[in-house]
């Protein structure tokens, strides 16, 4: 291996695509306020709108680019939706919030906030592959349901939800449907119409673009209460001077993600499978978490009984391999991954879980390096462990 470190934490964030980087550098001097009427402002605005169109196209909303609202990222997009529901619920008859047990903390904590404000909130469970229990969802959704919020794909285990089925249930009850598609966009085809969603959250830094920029897709007619009030930007949905460079980077990243998606998916799937099969072959009792098929092409979550996740992560780190873990030790809390626990994985397997998330730069040589380094690390930790593998 001549290239270190081996970065396998693309679900946490991605490096800039070289083309995005070049574009952003070239655009650094497009400083004009995109709200200004003069020529420089109009030129910046044209680039903002071209970026908006590219982002819209990426999620199947190409016909309605004005339905894309730029935000500071996934957390802001999610918070905007939940804040909107807060205002709607206070005034209207519907107050019920239905979400899942495996959402990102951003949605979970937004839902808990509404709960603390007196909104009835249901956290629907998932099966042992991390797929939402549709019968449970059906039972939870009713005429008092205001919002259904289901993540499109999970950040930890990669399991992809059947959004069309979720939509049928939400829409039959007349509820608004939001999906946090932060991990899905750029990794699998995303289509707001076939998914039947009213709101869709995305974040640029997960698709080889810059941090600090994201978007919210808003279906025509769906209500929105601005989280940030001020000027007239984004049709009054989100105030604040246009983040030119972030938005331009997002536009380029979205164009590239759409164009490269088939090749990307084929490539990372093959590498992910090579890693998965290699681990299964070389490491006894390794347990693959998540769905075997309906899973993000780049994500592999594995539990190693008898070895603890933070120790595995740090031994890998010392070998120049960057991954993440669902262990409590790494989270700073006392509880291991809420996602793995929700899939029925016991605390020991959750503590011993490692997420490998591959990306467009991952090579076969890197995967083989991991397959060479990982087995002795697990064997060593198991040998000094009180827990039988």
């Amino acid at each position: 291996m001549d290239r270190r470190p081996v970065y396998l934490d693309y679900n946490a964030t991605t490096p800039l695509h070289p083309v995005v980087k070049d574009t952003m550098i070239a655009d650094l001097d497009l400083y004009a306020n995109a709200s200004s009427m003069h020529e420089a402002g109009r030129r910046a605005r044209a680039r903002v709108e071209a970026s908006r169109a590219a982002v819209a196209l990426l999620v199947g909303a190409g016909a309605d680019p004005e339905q894309i609202i730029f935000t500071s990222g996934g957390s802001e997009s999610n918070n905007t939706v939940f804040a909107t529901m807060f205002h709607l619920g206070r005034k209207g008859p519907r107050k019920g919030i239905v979400t899942t047990a495996i959402e990102h903390p951003c949605v979970l904590n937004s839902a808990r906030w509404l709960q603390s404000e007196g909104f009835p909130v249901t956290f629907v469970g998932v099966d042992d592959h991390g797929r939402i229990n549709l019968d449970e969802l059906q039972a939870a959704v009713g005429s008092d349901t205001l919002l259904v919020s289901v993540m499109a794909a999970n950040n930890e285990i990669g399991t992809i939800q059947d959004m069309a089925a979720v939509s049928r249930i939400a829409k039959a009850a007349g509820a608004w449907l939001h999906t946090d598609a932060t991990q899905a966009v750029g990794k699998i085809p995303v289509d707001v119409d076939s998914w039947g969603v009213d709101y869709l959250t995305m974040s640029c830094h997960k698709l080889y673009g810059p941090k600090g920029i994201g978007a919210l897709y808003l279906r025509k007619g769906a209500p929105l209460e601005p989280l940030i009030r001020g000027g007239h930007q984004e049709h009054g949905h989100r105030a604040g001077t246009y983040n030119n460079i972030g938005i331009f980077g997002f536009g380029t990243a979205a164009e590239l993600a759409l164009a490269e998606l088939p090749a990307y998916a084929a490539r990372v799937t093959a590498l992910r499978n090579r890693l998965r099969d290699g681990i299964a072959q070389k490491i006894p009792k390794a347990r693959i978490n998540g769905h075997p098929v309906t899973v993000l092409p780049n994500t592999l979550n594995v539990s190693f009984p008898g070895a603890e996740g933070e120790s595995i992560l740090l031994y890998l780190d010392l070998a120049g391999i960057h991954v993440s873990t669902g262990s409590a030790c790494a989270s700073g809390s006392l509880e291991p991954s809420h996602v793995l626990l929700a899939t029925g994985v016991g605390p020991e397997l959750a503590h011993g879980s490692i997420r490998f998330s591959l990306g467009r730069d991952t090579t076969e040589a890197e995967i083989d390096y991991v397959l060479q380094q990982l087995p002795p690390i697990i064997a060593r930790l198991r040998a000094m462990s009180t827990i039988e593998a």
């Binding site: 070895a307 603890e308 409590a328 503590h351 000094m384 009180t386």
Partner: protein, 199 residues
């Protein structure tokens, strides 16, 4: 701080994590006089100490740990420290003593990963039972938490082991904090920690 970013822990922790001392190996046929284990898989950390003891002095030691880097490092460090130590002194070692020798640990790590002292005490207790001196060190190295009723951290630990899970349950068993109540905050913190480790 820069060291913490260069690596998560101090150089000493890193060294003990990478080169743990006195790890138990089944091939070695280490014979020992006492053993103790503490922690659980559920909480993510478990430690076991095996002691060879002569004339109440720890002659040699082996250990096994399931846990994070600081759990491994702290157990390794402790195993070095107690070699040649009298069991009475070993009984009084506190998590903070180990953390200090390791060049410091993040706060949250001291509570959840430094269980070595408790496993060590369990091993010494095992030895005391085997030599007909059960409970001899019961009050060794304890800290009074409730000054009104002279209730120690050890009393709280024992109450949790016996089934106390919340403040009311702890009060039922120990009467802690039933006079002035000034110890409630510290008592609850210990209760929370022990429930995590022992429940």
């Amino acid at each position: 701080m820069s060291d913490m970013f260069a690596w998560m822990y101090s150089d000493v922790v890193k060294d003990h994590f990478m080169n743990p001392r006195n790890v138990f190996s089944p091939d070695e046929n280490f014979s020992y006089d006492a053993e103790g284990i503490t922690g659980s898989v559920k909480c993510g950390d478990q430690m076991q100490f095996m002691l060879k003891i002569k004339d109440d002095v720890i002659e040699d030691v082996r250990w096994r740990t399931y846990g994070c880097a600081s759990a491994i490092a702290s157990t390794s460090m402790l195993s070095d420290v107690v070699k040649g130590m009298e069991i009475k002194e070993a009984y009084s070692i506190k998590p903070n003593d180990i953390a200090q020798k390791l060049g410091g640990l993040p706060d949250n790590k001291i509570h959840c990963s430094v269980l070595g002292d408790k496993a060590l005490r369990a091993a010494v207790d095992d030895y005391l039972v085997k030599t007909g001196r059960e409970g001899l060190f019961r009050n060794e190295g304890t800290k009074v938490i409730c000054t009104c009723l002279n209730i120690t951290d050890r009393d709280i630990e024992e109450a949790v082991k016996a089934g106390a899970r919340d403040w009311e349950g702890l009060q039922e068993r120990t009467k802690i904090g039933t006079v002035c109540g000034g110890c409630k905050k510290e008592g609850e913190e210990l209760l929370h920690e022990y429930v995590h480790i022992f429940a």
